[in-house]
């Protein structure tokens, strides 16, 4: 029996997997039917949701775009969902017989041959004898028909539900003090880590949930730079935030919800301190400040050549630039006034933030244009205006600036100068 989810356009395998897991709310047996289907075995489950009609209603409410069908076998449900009347709890095989041959999930060549014999509906094929079908079209079609009617078994790969990394501690007498909460956290972390050791997993994130007696829930989430099951480390990170937890009239339950990843038992104790492990330090830093790394982006536009990546991610892939680049780059280039006696030459004087600098040396120009192949041609502003000529200039006092001229002298608009970075 299978509700089918033909979520048009949103057929990512990940999405499908998530939805199939969500179906565990209805039945423990949910299987993927890629690219866009989910098969549920609802044997003995439907009555919990108001019968089959109620179940279909619930699924339909969650996914209005899905085509859902219930039938006695997975193959029949598949055919009904794909080719049957839209929605509805019709599970009578009589309807199945009206479906086109494509509902049998057989090769196009076989369908073509059946059509040449004047067979257009599944029912017409079902009326043929097994011997005739086997002789004419091979054992595969016989098997398909048997599966449709439930005469042959069909193997479905049901998903294993994810492990629930949740531990809860209830307290008849509410907790008030930070010491009580710290002790409770330690106890829960111990319990969680024991399970993690058994499963050879580590936490990549954990959420502490504090349930107050006035029915409010306070949460505190932490992520880890690397999977860990170090109970002292986890308890300490959670404990650091306890002073932000307002117990109000008391906390009657504390829960830890973990998110786990595989962490094989290591030999850290034997390996000694060969490679320093910075992950715990990063975890502690994440509690105080916003952390990120800068990863490369393949573009010539200087300000777009970097992007923020998560601190747990990798920022590798930078290549050494051939031309000088500043160590600080302004998010917005700041306009400067220049004195340039000769067009297309570096400036002699620049004025930035009301201070005048005499330029004694300049490296450049390095011409950087807009990546015009990504843009519609602009009519309002000519393309030449977006061309930048960069110079690394050195002032009389030794300051080094990265300045550029936007636009060309022969253009319609006079070029403008900006400072973009500092060396």
């Amino acid at each position: 029996m299978s509700p089918e989810d033909s979520a048009a356009g949103r057929t990512g395998g990940r999405l499908l997997h998530e939805r199939a897991l969500w179906c565990h709310g209805f039945t423990p047996l949910a299987a993927l039917d890629p690219p866009d289907g989910i098969v549920l075995d609802i044997t003995g489950c439907a009555h919990l949701f108001g019968g089959e009609a109620g179940l279909v209603r619930r699924l339909g409410a969650a996914w209005p775009e899905a085509r859902i069908a219930i039938a006695d076998t997975a193959a029949a449900a598949w055919a009904l969902a794909h080719f049957g009347p839209i929605a509805g709890a019709d599970r009578r095989t009589a309807r199945l017989e009206d479906l086109p041959l494509a509902g049998l999930r057989i090769a196009d060549a076989t369908i073509a041959r059946l059509r040449r014999l004047g067979l257009r509906r599944i029912g017409e094929v079902l009326r043929l004898s097994r011997g005739e079908i086997r002789a004419g079209f091979g054992a595969d079609l016989v098997l398909r028909l048997d599966r449709l009617r439930g005469h042959a078994p069909e193997a479905l790969h049901f998903l294993t539900p994810p492990v629930d990394w949740r531990v809860v501690g209830f307290h008849a007498e509410p907790l008030f003090t930070a010491e009580q909460l710290q002790a409770e956290l330690m106890r829960l972390v111990e319990a969680l880590c024991e399970r993690l050791v058994a499963a050879e997993s580590g936490l990549v994130g954990v959420e502490a949930q504090y349930y107050r007696v006035d029915a409010r829930r306070l949460t505190d989430r932490i992520g880890f730079a690397a999977p860990t099951r170090d109970r002292v480390h986890v308890a300490r990170l959670l404990g650091e935030r306890l002073r932000h937890i307002d117990p109000g009239f008391g906390i009657e339950a504390v829960a830890l919800v973990g998110e786990a990843a595989a962490l094989p038992p290591g030999q850290a104790e034997l390996a000694g301190r060969a490679a320093p492990d910075y992950a715990p330090t990063i975890d502690r830093l994440m509690r105080r400040v916003t952390l990120y790394r800068l990863g490369p982006v393949a573009t010539h536009i200087p300000e777009r050549a970097m992007r923020r990546v998560q601190v747990t991610g990798s920022a590798a892939g930078w290549t050494m630039p051939d031309d000088p680049r500043p160590v600080r780059l302004f998010a917005r280039p700041e306009p400067i006034a220049v004195l340039e006696p000769v067009p297309d030459d570096p400036p002699r004087m620049i004025r930035w933030r009301d201070v005048a600098y005499r330029i004694v040396h300049a490296t450049g120009p390095e011409r950087i244009g807009r990546d015009w192949w990504h843009h519609e041609p602009a009519t309002a502003r000519p393309e030449t205006e977006r061309i930048r000529d960069y110079y690394a200039v050195e002032t009389a006092a030794g300051e080094r600036f990265w300045v550029f001229r936007a636009g060309l002298h022969e253009g319609e608009v006079a070029p403008r100068w900006f400072i973009h970075g500092l060396f």
Binding site: P276, L285, R293, W318, P324, L329, V360
Partner: protein, 204 residues
């Protein structure tokens, strides 16, 4: 290598003051300091990885940290130093207590901590060195990297001095090369004065 730094860089915290030229100098100081990850802490950062790469820091070593509160920024540097990383923090000023805590953390972890102060200099003796960095004209011909006039206002166990320092070749281990030194000169050596009677040239 940069022997003129004379072992100032291991497990120590330096205070660095100065203008816009500080960032480039600090990046190269960290490049000399060692291979550990670098945490750069500020309120808002505008570091540019390609430029840092030319300053001999691999951007994949770099972790950027932003926090509004100065207390959080100093605490983050302490955590990073204790964990054995190098760290840079941009703050207004540092109290004696904070300086002492940072120095202890650096000694534990063995990394180099750099406090870039915008405001007044600290009077703490916990810093292994105090710098004032200014830009300087390059000695050599066109096309070389940046130069700095680095005043070592205080250094534990050695004389203060004023140095003219040049950025080394891209990718080389000598990210900071001493061009000349005005040994024993006070912090008010006039700008532009090069290789005076007491100055000496050092090949890196």
């Amino acid at each position: 290598m940069s022997e003129w730094l004379g072992g100032l860089l291991g497990g120590a915290v330096h205070e660095v003051g100065g203008g816009d030229a500080v960032t480039g100098f600090v990046a190269r100081l960290l490049a000399v300091a060692g291979e550990a990850p670098i945490v750069w802490i500020g309120e808002r950062l505008d570091l540019y990885p390609p430029g840092l790469m030319q300053g001999a820091i691999d951007p994949s070593r770099l972790i950027l940290a932003e926090a509004k509160d100065e207390i959080d920024r100093l605490a983050a540097l302490e955590i990073a130093l204790r964990g054995g990383m190098h760290g840079v923090v941009m703050v207004q000023a540092v109290s004696r207590l904070a300086a002492r805590k940072l120095a202890l953390a650096a000694r534990c972890g063995g990394g180099l901590g750099l406090v870039l102060r915008a405001g007044t200099a600290s009077d703490s003796a916990a810093f292994a060195a105090r710098w004032r960095i200014g830009a300087a004209r390059s000695e050599t011909a066109a096309g070389t990297g940046p130069c700095w006039r680095a005043e070592l206002l205080y250094a534990r166990g050695r004389h203060p001095g004023v140095f003219l320092i040049e950025a080394g070749d891209h990718g080389s281990s000598s990210a900071l090369m001493l061009v000349s030194e005005f040994r024993g000169a006070g912090p008010d050596v006039p700008r532009g004065q090069r290789g005076g009677a007491d100055g000496r040239a050092v090949a890196a």
